[in-house]
C-alpha cells in the first residue's frame, strides 16, 4: 500500500482551494467511521500517480497515518486537471462496496456481429484489500444473439454482486443496415411551430 504525505487545511472555500491548486497541491477531504471530517491537501503529481496505481492508500497527515479508500475524484471541464479528491477511512479487514470497470476481451468472430457493451462498471462488495482493478470478460466465443448478464460475470473470490442479477453487460447483435438518405433533402421540411396552428384556427373561428 502506497503512503502519501498530506497537510491539514486550515481554511475552506473555493478561493483557498484555487490558491492551493496554483501551488500544485490538490484539496481533499477524509471522512467516515463517525469521526469528524478532516480537510487536507496533497501534492498534485504524487496523487495523480497514486490514483492510477491503487484505490487503497495510507495518508500521512502530519505524523498521523490513516488508511483510506479513494471515494470520488473531481476533474475540470476537460477531464484533465485534478480538482478535489474524497477519501473514506477504512479498516483493512472491512468490506466495502466499490465500482469496478468491466473490460471485454476479444472480439466475436461471426461475420456481421457487433458487440455492444451496455454496462461499463459493476458495483461489487469485497474486502478492501482485495479490490480488483478490473473485471475481464472473454467475449471471443460469443455468437449473434448471445448476451452476458451480471450473474454470468466471473467475480474475484470473496466478492459479492451488488446489482440485480439480470443487469445486461453486453450483447452481440447484427449490424443494422444504414438507411439510405433521401436523394434531395426534400426542401428540408421545417419543424412544427408550437402554438402557431392554434392561433390560426382561432382566427378562422373568429371570422
Amino acid at each position: 500500500m502506497q503512503t502519501l504525505k498530506a497537510v491539514a487545511r486550515e481554511g475552506r472555500g473555493s478561493r483557498l482551494s484555487r490558491h492551493l491548486r496554483q501551488k500544485g497541491m490538490v484539496p481533499a477531504i477524509i471522512y467516515g467511521h463517525k469521526v469528524e471530517p478532516r480537510a487536507v491537501a496533497l501534492g498534485g503529481h504524487d496523487l495523480e500517480l497514486a490514483l492510477h496505481a491503487s484505490r487503497l492508500l495510507a495518508l500521512d497527515v502530519e505524523g498521523h497515518t490513516e488508511n483510506v479508500l479513494i471515494k470520488d475524484v473531481q476533474y475540470d471541464a476537460f477531464g484533465t486537471k485534478l480538482l478535489h479528491v474524497d477519501f473514506a477511512r477504512v479498516n483493512l479487514d472491512e468490506r466495502v462496496s466499490v465500482t469496478v470497470p468491466i473490460i471485454l476481451r476479444g472480439k466475436p468472430t461471426e461475420v456481421g456481429a457487433v458487440l455492444t457493451q451496455v454496462t461499463n462498471d459493476l458495483e461489487i462488495e469485497c474486502l478492501v484489500t482485495s479490490i480488483p482493478d478490473e473485471i475481464r470478460i472473454p467475449v471471443g466465443e460469443m455468437k449473434i444473439g448471445d448476451v452476458i448478464k451480471a450473474k454470468d460475470v466471473p467475480l474475484p473470490q470473496g466478492a459479492a454482486l451488488l446489482v440485480e442479477e439480470d443487469v445486461l453487460i453486453c450483447t452481440v447483435s447484427v449490424v443494422a443496415e444504414e438507411a439510405e438518405a433521401p436523394a434531395a433533402e426534400a426542401g428540408a421540411a421545417e419543424p412544427e411551430v408550437i402554438g402557431e396552428k392554434k392561433e390560426e384556427a382561432e382566427e378562422e373561428e373568429a371570422k
Binding site: 479513494i70 457487433v114 455492444t116 457493451q117 462498471d121 419543424p191
Partner: protein, 139 residues
C-alpha cells in the same frame, strides 16, 4: 437526412453568446472513446452528419458511433444582394451550440488505434479544434 427538431417554440432565434466551459455532456458516457471540443462554437447539422459518415465509413460496420450533440438552434441568412432591413432572413440551417469541453461523438466496441484513426477523420470535418478522450471509470 440532416438533424433538426420536430417541434419548436419559435421559428427564429437570436444569436446569443457562448461563455464558459461545458459543465454537462463533458464525459464519455456511452462508448469507450470520445471526441471532445477544445473550442466553443456552432456545430451545424451538416458538420454532424459529415462527422458521422466519416466515422461509420472508416469503422466499416465495426463498433458503434454515438452522436452526443443535437442541432436545436435555427440560424438565418438573408438572400444575396439584398438591401439591409425588411426583417430577419429565413432559416438556413440548424446548429448545436458547443461549449469547450463538450463531447461531440463517441465510439465503442473497437480498439483504441481504430477509434483514433476514425476520430482523426471526424476531426477534419469539424469547424473547431477537437481532441480524443477516454472513458473514465467510476470508483
Amino acid at each position: 437526412m440532416a438533424l433538426m427538431p420536430k417541434r419548436v417554440l419559435h421559428r427564429k432565434q437570436q444569436r446569443g453568446r457562448i461563455r464558459g466551459q461545458a459543465t454537462r455532456g463533458n464525459t464519455v458516457s456511452f462508448g469507450e472513446f470520445g471526441l471532445q471540443s477544445a473550442d466553443s462554437g456552432w456545430l451545424s447539422a451538416r458538420h454532424i452528419e459529415a462527422g458521422r459518415v466519416a466515422a461509420t465509413h472508416y469503422l466499416h460496420r465495426e463498433g458503434r458511433v454515438y452522436i452526443r450533440v443535437f442541432p436545436d438552434k435555427p440560424t438565418t441568412k438573408k438572400p444575396l444582394e439584398t438591401r439591409m432591413g425588411t426583417g430577419k432572413g429565413e432559416v438556413e440551417e440548424w446548429v448545436a451550440v458547443i461549449k469547450e469541453g463538450t463531447i461531440l461523438f463517441e465510439i465503442g466496441g473497437v480498439d483504441e488505434t481504430t477509434a483514433k484513426a476514425a476520430f482523426k477523420r471526424v476531426a477534419s470535418k469539424m469547424p473547431f479544434k477537437v481532441r480524443m478522450v477516454h472513458r473514465r471509470h467510476g470508483l
